[in-house]
Amino acid sequence: MNKPKVAFFDFTSCEGCQLNKLNLENDLLSLLELADIVEFREAMDDQADFYDVAFIEGSISTPTCVQRIFDIRRRTKYLVSLGACAVQGGVNAMRNLQPADEVQEAVYGEAKYLFPSIPVQPVSAYVKVDFEVRGCPMSTPEFLHIFKSIVLGRKPEIFDHAVCVECKLRENECVLDKGMFCLGPVSRAGCEAVCPSNGQYCTGCRGLVSNANIEGGIAMLQRYGFSRKEAIKKLEMYSALNERVHQKTECEHA
């Protein structure tokens, strides 16, 4: 690909993933040599009609979002979702678990019908997504890897193993053995187990591995003294839209 025309768009999100790019201080100027940034509302005035790669941050949560994402998809060759909100709905999707009317009323009171909103969905619920960069915030090494792969016309390598694998490679003490809750066994890696490595538990921000044994994971958490209810509630923080979280299936290995 010649110097590609690249654009960044933000939907319902905290814009932390876009900021994570501006935080690539050391690589930002060399990135600019690889690509022409033609649209990036958060940082520049220009707008363009056509893009080679459109990076999308955020969830789809209003009727306007739906119109914008359709319009962007029509004008771009590749579409890449950035971060948990765009890839799997992120923390935004937790509100789908409560009646929409009550959620609107909790924030706007009597003015609740002024601002239309629809159930939160990832970008892929509406348009074809070519590549996904997971994480909350998105992982910058993965962003650079996918970006370079597109420019070079290569297929990027995407991880689908559990966080436990990366956590063990870093020789961390097991979070569960420390007496803390953890979603590492069922959560998708690629983050280098950054939270367990900093004394926190895995919240599953990159979503679940594709063959996650949810029942086995819950049974294991129960053995460590955590309730089923707590396990599901914590799974819902980033995977509220994953059907497997709410399906009761036979436990295969526990």
């Binding site: 905290c14 220009d46 924030v107 909103s117």
Partner: protein, 435 residues
Amino acid sequence: MHKNLDINVHHLTRVEGHGNIVVNMKNGKLEKAELDIVEAPRFFEAMLKGRNFKEVAIITSRICGICSLGHQITSLKATEAALGLEVSEQTKILRRILIDGATFQSNVLHALFLAAPDFLNVGSVFQVVSSHKDVVLAALRLKRLANDIGDVLSGRAIHPIRCVPGGFTMLPTEEQLRKIMDDLKGQGMQDLKFITGVLASLAGEIPQFERETEYISLKDANEYAFYDGDIFSSDTGARPVEDYLDVTNEFVVPHSTSKHARYNRSSYMVGALARFNNNHEQLHPVARDVMKELGLSAPCYNPYMNTVAQMVEVAHCIENSIMLIDQLLTDGIKQEKPADHPTRYGRGVGATEVPRGILFHEYTYNRQGNIESANCIIPTGQNLENIDDDMKKLVPEILSESKEAITHKLEMLVRAYDPCISCSVHMLDVSFIEE
């Protein structure tokens, strides 16, 4: 001189989030001058319901990527107040250093990457790269330095990991802290002085416009307030943070998914200029030098000078973090676990100064330590009514200028407030309506 004017800037650029500027003048009468906030609502208050106190700050940091540290610390303070958790002096110092870092990172990002292109008459910092590469590199180094503070003290500058109720999950090493302090003293101070010099040469580009308003910030007897203090109004004086609802008085307007606020007058201002006006006497010496070099003096009633006040705070925060790290190194880092056993369950309010102004979180917990109700009041929301009031005074004063010049000044005005629209909706565009 325009008799009819219709300006409609859809999705204003170089701000965080989505907003429109709408100005409508008919037969010499200003019918509308407002900032429409069109960002999609997030409904965080609803997401928090039923969540355990240990999860709350993880979720609230996701209100905003730029101010994630500020939201997290404010959230932790509210939780600690509600559950009766006492944090150590060391935790307070580490949190202060983190806030200094987050403030100067955000202020550098805004002043040099988002606002400065206006002074150079270009559309983005990317165009500045070719003409002023040395300035861009110095700004990037300062930003990196600020992010290093976040990475080392909290595990990650965006959506910090180590800050939890009662303290920290892990502590930095003295070696890491010493390196940050040396970098701040050396390269940091050098880059700051260089950038201040360049900005001083551009000071003539700042529009002359004044509107005296009510300035609200935290005020602390011991320091230029960021982490702690009482709510202070330039009109009415100090009140405890627990009274925040009597100060913010939020109300819904049809042109904004973010709620507006008012206290003693029709509107008030929060942020760097409000802090500067209320607390300038407590600035550190290097900050006072930057203040003089950039031509800022207190009280200042020109909202465009908010960007300059931000640079003064960059200097203050660098100095302050050097001082605090020095203190930690003198005392030695004590290995301590977070004090996270609740001594009571109830209501708690947390307030801190985040880059865009005073931020409030309030939670009520039940006996299981889960959230019963939550409320977050964001600085940008508090500034929105003040921005509308500024536009209503500014437009009639500049009517003899071209429509393009008027639009540009309105965009610059909104940008000067460094609005964080994602935050405020827990949303910006400019639109002029013409016959």
